[in-house]
Amino acid sequence: MPKYAVLIMLLMSSVLWAEELATASVSIARPDAIALVRAVETQYQGDCSHGKMRMLIKTRSWTRTLEIEMWSEGRDKLLTRILAPVKERGTCTLKVDNDIWNYIARIDRMIKIPSSLMGDSWMGSHLTNDDLVKENKIDQLYQLSIAEQNGDIATIVGIPFPDAAVVWGKIVYQIDTARLVPILIEYFDEEGEKVRSMVFSEVKQVGERLLPMLARIVPADKPEEYTEMLYQEIDFSVELPRDLFSIKSLRNR
Amino acid sequence: MDTVLTKELSRIYQNGAAEVKAVDSVDLTIESGEFAVLAGPSGSGKSTLLNLIGGLDRPTAGTVHLSGELLNEKTDDELTRARLFKIGFIFQAYNLIPVLTAYENVQFILQIQGIPDSQHADRIMPLLQELGLDGLEHRRPSELSGGQQQRVAVARAIVGRPSIILADEPTANLDSESAVNLLNMMHRLNLEQKVTFLFSSHDQRVIDIAQRIISLRDGKICDDIRKN
């Protein structure tokens, strides 16, 4: 089940999730939550991806579209680059382990995002920096359990362990266990109030996997706003240059 | 008409448990134009009788009529008004208002009587001349001798044209010459302007000059002599 890896690496979320589920389901017929996560953890390393997506951001006062190219390696390395609009073309975000760097093409400068800003919006969208970073430790941070199995739809609830340093008070997933794709993720704060939700749709076959092509994030307190991410291309069979995920490469791209 | 008329007039002081009859059933009539003296030793009741007649004190019993008006029934303010218009006071200690000049002390009476300012000088200056005070009108009491002060007091008593002048031991603080001088002037005013005077005094000079001598002893009239 656990696609949190996906959730966490927001940009890539749906892709990774599907992949995890696919592999997990091979070894575990009737998955229990933790076992599923563990399976994902161990088999996930080393995969590379390259893709393009269109990000549509709608807020109370403006709407804009970003075209983004992205690369990933495992769960620790991620690089995004804005292709459009032209004014922002070349602006990159690099994530390596827990660090995030932004390269601002217009002024040819790079800034490092400090850990205190992980809750901040990423590029004005409804994603946060934290979504890019907090990744591979979901099973260590949250107590996972299958709350409900309704036909092919499984509902899994994640509650943080008492001493875990986490952002959410609760996470709820809905997964299509037949096709092994995510349907919905809801995020709650410590008071149990829903903060935002992520909805997946347009499931497509990509190579051996089934992937939702569209993810939409809606903040609970501003239901008229959202951020939509639509994959235009995604390729898991790529070889990536060795120094791709480095500061030096940001400027050169 | 009688200027002063008292009937069975008494004034009793409470001195501890003892009653002191300062004035005891006095029947007295003073007529207009008289120049009379209440004579008698200290404590005989002269001053008390004078105060009763002047409306400064209230009788324990009996009545006082002043120019036909009964003083007994008047309120304090009415008595003050009666004193202003009907009585001129001359005190032993002169008692001029220290912050006013001689002229202003006299004028004071006209001002509180409400006499228009335009008439003041015409009424005051002849009076001061008559009393030998010309040239001194701008002096304050402290700049005047006792005799001069008492003459200012006389002018102040007369200027308001009262029915009667009550003078309580007016010569007691004066030297002999001043006293005689003062008495002569008052006598002249009596003769020429028909001003009625009632003194209280045990000064022989006063008694000598008076037309009528009313002797008091223990609050009673013991003798009433008119000279002719």
Partner: protein
């Protein structure tokens, strides 16, 4: 009138006593005027310290912006047309401001330091004319209107290791959602005394900020400075009645603690007046009462020769009132002069005393007074009342006085 003459001359009978009494009364009155002026000055400082750097006396913005500032909630930078005429006369100056959240970053490679900051775009000329912002500069200089200038709070500069002339990377989202980025140069570093504020605050020219944030011609707020800050609430009401598209928030709402103080201020003033005059009354009452007692016999004579008690009472009252009023007027003039001098030339005591932060403002160790009608008239009024009070007992005695008894005391 002769009563006046007597009253006036009586005052000068015992010249020394009158002078001493008057001296004490003048001193008390002057001190009181000064104290009240100082209180007002203290309050003004409190208000000004609270308002001059931040929000002005009145904060004008879109309805709701003050409580919940949102980047997109802007108003026109031309505010003058939106104010009622009556209000304009009360306004000393207007400072437009644009406010945004941004990342400020300094240094390259691993030395790069980034801090989230409050960025305030200001009209440097308006700020120089109206606010004390420029007075906080501790290094470099204030904005001069040149392009790409930025002023950093001392704490912020320390955090991102920036110095004068350092290159600062500005990174944020503009009002249209686009990425706002610019390289700015540190023109000055300021310290307001509020470390928390200074560690996350920067100022830049409003024109630059408008361009960067895609808000040309727009501002978030106008801060009005009034000739009389005490009028802020009334002026704000006038604006709110007149203009629904903007919301005026007076400093009383922004700094309720100071407003609360103000509410009890009048009571404090009255209390002070009462204490002063209780002391004054004891001093002057005694001398004046003695002066009257000495003259009881004189009063008796006046009564005997025809002055009614009512007129005598008027005489006593007149004497007392002349003394009180003359003393009060002189004292008022002395105190007011002192206040005016200290208003224009406050005395700085910061060498001996430290300032204190309180209620969103700070209390500065400055001897500063504000002359006001109330602080001038209240002591005079109290002095006149004292005149009545001092006359009351002799008059009461007078009404019980029997002339014949007073005369006998010769």
């Amino acid at each position: 009138m002769v009563i006046w003459r007597i009253a006036w001359r009586n005052l000068w009978r015992n010249r020394r006593r009158t002078q001493l009494t008057m001296g004490a009364m003048i001193f008390a009155c002057a001190m009181l005027v000064f104290s009240l002026g100082y209180y007002d000055g203290f309050l003004w400082s409190l208000i000004n310290n609270a308002t001059e750097k931040e929000n002005g006396h009145i904060f004008l913005a879109r309805p709701g912006y003050y409580a919940n500032p949102v980047l997109e909630d802007t108003v026109s930078e031309n505010i003058s047309a939106q104010l009622p005429t009556a209000v304009k006369e009360q306004v000393k100056g207007v400072c437009p401001r644009l406010q945004a959240y941004a990342l400020l970053s300094c240094g390259t490679g691993q030395e790069n330091r980034t801090q989230p900051s409050q960025i305030v775009g200001v009209d440097f000329q308006a700020e120089l004319a109206n606010s004390k912002l420029a007075g906080d500069i501790v290094a470099g200089s204030f904005l001069s209107g040149q392009q790409r200038e930025i002023l950093l709070g001392q704490g912020l500069a320390r955090k991102i290791k920036a110095e004068l002339g350092s290159e600062i990377i500005f990174f944020s989202n503009a009002a249209d959602g686009s990425i706002a980025s610019e390289i700015l140069l540190v023109k000055g570093i300021f310290s307001s005394g509020d470390n928390l504020r200074d560690s996350a605050l920067a100022f830049m020219n409003i024109v630059d900020a408008q361009q960067l944030l895609a808000l040309e011609g727009r501002v978030h707020s106008h801060r009005l400075f009034l000739h009389n800050p005490m009028q802020a609430r009334e002026v704000a009401e006038q604006i709110n009645d007149h203009q629904k598209a903007i919301e005026a928030t007076p400093w009383q709402t922004m700094f309720p603690q100071i407003a609360d103080i103000l509410q009890i201020w009048f009571a404090i003033q009255l209390f002070t007046v009462a204490i002063y005059y209780a002391a004054m009354a004891l001093i002057t009452f005694n001398t004046m009462y003695m002066a009257f007692l000495e003259r009881m016999q004189e009063f008796a004579v006046m009564q005997a020769i025809g002055l009614t008690r009512r007129r005598l009472a008027r005489l006593i009252l007149l004497e007392s009132l002349i003394l009180a009023t003359v003393s009060g007027l002189i004292g008022m003039m002395l105190g007011a002069s002192l206040n005016i001098v200290l208003f224009y030339y406050p005395i700085d005591l910061s060498r001996w005393l430290e300032s204190i932060s309180w209620g969103g403002s700070s209390i500065q160790p400055v001897l500063f007074c504000v002359p006001s009608l109330l602080s001038n008239l209240l002591p005079l009024l109290a002095m006149i009342l004292l005149g009545f009070a001092v006359a009351a007992l002799p008059i009461w005695r007078l009404y019980r006085l029997k002339p014949v008894e007073a005369l006998r005391e010769v």
